[in-house]
Symmetry: D3
Subunit: 243 residues, 6 copies
């Protein structure tokens, strides 16, 4: 099968990291096609960024010419899944949902490790809409920014492990979710040091996409239907300078 | 005070209708500056449309050069308020919230009259995020599309009044909210025929914006802060052909 | 328009303070008619007080002979709004609702600063009935009593500002509501020292009452209907000695 | 033990009916002291009535001179329990709570049969505050008024049984609660005709009061403490003409 | 009346303690028949134990030959009530429900003192299914194991009282529930030292069973019906060696 | 990997059907080891059956001597997962959770088709504990019993498709879950006739178990720990006659 993995920010290095991580867990017959939006924020850290990104991922997917079997929205806490799902007839999986459902299979309540505090609200809203707020013990910002994760991974791992330990001890979490796609590369080190399972969303989404594919499950009739009204200027990338 | 009223679709006639309706209820010292996005759907009837629109309204507001005291997002059920609020330091009021809060002051539970069924999910999600699901008796699609409202307002009024009567009788609503900005022009006729109060969001938002202005209330420190990461291509309208 | 602002306690100095605060924010055509119940507690600090007060405010409003366009129940957390609303055909606005809705327009979650701990339960119950519990980050008693607010306003401001800072830091509030009508006079000083917006309910209720008036919105058919059964002894003030 | 059973309306015939019903289920050592408020509505059918009644029952209890071991508030859906509980150091049991808890011991979800539609909101609010909304399948008004229950009990029984059958078939109820104290006399006939258990609140409250008494359980320190502020005019009955 | 009190573990000394405690609070005409399962854990401290126990209590009750009027499931947080209720036509009362409902009559929010941390999840799940999560301020493990309660009751009382004080101060509880049937013997000492009422579930269940009996209330038609399918091997005790 | 698929009833033909269905969707390296409890009901249709079954599946798993990588509890709505998870260190997946999570990836709200009405309560309780009640549009009993599914599959498919259509039209479901493991064989025919995706839990659980395996995710430290107390008679099958 062919999975489109759409990064939510315009950082090519993050896209490459997502691709590498996804490919590591993909089944042998699964092709990962990782793509970067044509415009939008270099990192998504709040609703201003997120709303541009939600349009940009749809714009990027609209440019695809080859067929595919599933789409993964590769941004934790991002809100573009419902619009993407209306665009295409194959399953669109948010890594937030993927991580949360995997976590729910492993324990009673999970905590999410986010980057900056302003990212937490989007995560909270996403879990509320997913109906999973009761399974979420806490959302804990680490204060890390995406560049910190790449620049000094050792310190980042330490900080995330310490924050996870607080979530276990004080909030009652028995599973940890990495709340930022850019943390994927650190999963092994964090998992080794943590006392509870550590779930990463990109890898989880790949396996869920494969699962739905084998099960022959696709969204209902409304998915992938034609846009219902004229959209002047859409898709936007036709007019924008390529980065 | 100066209120920016941003339409969520690219229909100039809807923008003009919103402006006229807002101006009718504005206080004498209030100036209504109604604007239309530079791109995006002609009507917003689901999440695909809504996500483009949420970026487009931010893009449009980013083009403003004159100061203003409040922003109203003029689309019922639309989700662009949080991103807009991060952009600007003045209150950003969604007409969904405005209508819902006004309705809550008038009765115990309100019902929302929407247009097409696919618009109902966005409204439901918005009310859930607003924490007001318990006050919402039902969301009832009328099946009307925006052009229907302009083409045959008499039939539209009849249908909305009949649907509202069902919401009162079967769902226990004691207030009705018009769930589409384009229904504003029909408010008087609907209100006359309905047995319960009929709230319209654009007019409610104007009065709430004025209220916050007189009260001297503005959002906290995070609102209007600089975007936190570089956003290649932003704002988009610099590159797009003007409609 | 003419707004009846009914104090919930029998302290004339509080009534005068409410009147002054309301008048400061009222539009030019708005007349504030502040009234004091004929009987009831000098301060309302729990349900025993609150239940006497809920009858006393209805009794006081029943004595009005001049027409009016709205009623404001001027006690934070008090529960007399539904009964008052059954009595009269104009909107009856609780300052709890007014403050909470204004706060919801300004941020994600608000905290309420109350006086004594026993007042917190009434506030919590009121917000639960209003369907707004999810938007309330916390209700924090300051330990202040109403006389403290008048006797040593400087210390009261300090304590409220410190408590508000805890609500922001520990409970995640991004808006503060003053949870006692008698705190209205301190609003400016608290707002100046606080890092987040500070909402006061009496002023908010005045603006919401004016908003509903301009919008032409009144409660539905049931409001203001005749009492359904005989009420021996009612209204009570006919028999009670005037204070 | 000595139980004070305070009627919420001023109808002596209802008080006598409550007393008779309570006495029928009381243990041999239990004395039922049924009392009628000195003022207030002849029937409580909404919040206007209910708020006068909530003060009146406190006023009536304040006139008691003999000691007692528990108080029962004998009005279904009425809201006076919290204030009464602050007044006295013994348990104060609302018949709404008593019926609901008994129903929860007998089935999964219960439905409440009320009288007029306007009484349903108070019941709904009371169950929400009690945290029991999820156990309540529905609140169904029968349209009966209290005089109807006394005038034509046969027809009333028929109507309640039919309404109960609808609650079982359509709402999933497996227990019925009689939502009006004046229905107590009809309990046997209703129970005989209904397919599911029928709970009546006055009798349930008597048994729960006795249970707490034998268990030696009393509310905590705050109950029965002195009123915290001066209450001019209180208790009111000193000034009111005796009915 | 005759109450069957079924211990959830196979410790005869616990059964005897439950019997003694129940008998102390039983009315004069009430006979307590305390029984021990024929197999299952010596102490129930989690779901593994609990699921064996849930079958074992049904197996034990299936062996009864004399009639009875009520069954009490004597394990706090245990989940066997629904299955038992399908087996027999008389009320089956869980001591979790009994304690929680009694606590709700005495205060606004209760906290549960459990033994080991792994027992807390069962209690939380039980309260969630009972619809009472909003009335539960916290579930606090004391770290005590059942043998600790018998071996050094003085230290156990101290620890429970200290934990209860934290629940009152930090979680807002105004009632304490003893979250383990084996704490019944310590109730008097804990109640004496605690600032708020202390509810014990076995005694509460006895009184509730008696109350339902006097009220003539039994579960609906589905209770006590014949098992719907063949159950090979059931009841199990026919094959198991007697302990 | 090796997956243990434990049937919840003692019908060998159901076990074989589950095995066949699971094997059909299993990856090439996955071995399905389907097992039948040594005792318990021939069909699980309520809590009485379910509680025996919850012990029987643990008893059966305790008899395994070969290693395995995951356990699937093959009964829709059954409650044995938490106890099994405490027994073993590998993931234990309930088919209820598996179906519900897969459904949540495909639509906004799902409906569950159950067999007899008495099975619905267990399903509802399970979804409540899973925190997914808000995503569940309805649980609709078809009235079918397990033998009906095998005897006349054509009629069963018709009835399930009709019931599913009602769930879509009246309850707002956009995904259907087959709420009985014995419906697995009918999935293809139902899916072909239904307008929305049809999720079956056994196949979904197989793919989720494989996903967790590839992701290297196992439950935390508490899973698979030694039973904490002595369990006389356990495991039970040592004493029971083999069927």
């Amino acid at each position: 099968m062919r999975i489109v993995l759409v990064n939510v920010n315009t950082s090519e290095s993050v896209t490459e990291s997502l691709r590498r991580h996804a490919a590591r867990f993909a089944a042998s017959g699964t092709e990962i096609h990782a793509i970067t939006p044509f415009f939008g924020p270099a990192a998504v850290e709040g609703y201003f960024d997120g709303q541009i990104s939600a349009a940009a991922v749809m714009d990027r997917v609209a440019a695809l010419t080859e067929p595919y079997d599933a789409v993964i929205e590769g941004g934790f806490g991002e809100g573009g899944q419902p619009g993407l799902q209306e665009m295409v007839a194959v399953p669109v999986i948010s890594i937030t949902d993927a991580a949360a459902f995997a976590a729910c299979l492993l324990g009673r309540r999970f905590s999410v490790m986010t980057t900056v505090p302003q990212a937490a609200r989007q995560v909270a809203d996403r879990l509320l809409l997913a109906g999973l707020r009761d399974r979420c013990a806490s959302i804990r910002p680490t204060g890390l920014q995406i560049p910190d994760l790449e620049r000094d991974p050792g310190s980042a791992v330490d900080l995330i492990v310490k924050t996870a330990a607080l979530a276990v001890a004080e909030d009652g979490a028995d599973v940890i979710c990495l709340g930022c796609a850019a943390m994927a590369d650190l999963q092994d080190q964090i998992a080794e040091a943590a006392a509870v399972p550590v779930v990463e969303g990109v890898s989880a989404a790949v396996k869920l996409a494969e699962a739905l594919h084998v099960l022959g499950l696709r969204p209902g009739l409304k998915a992938g239907s034609e846009p219902r009204s004229q959209v002047p200027g859409w898709p936007l990338h036709r007019y924008l300078p390529r980065p």
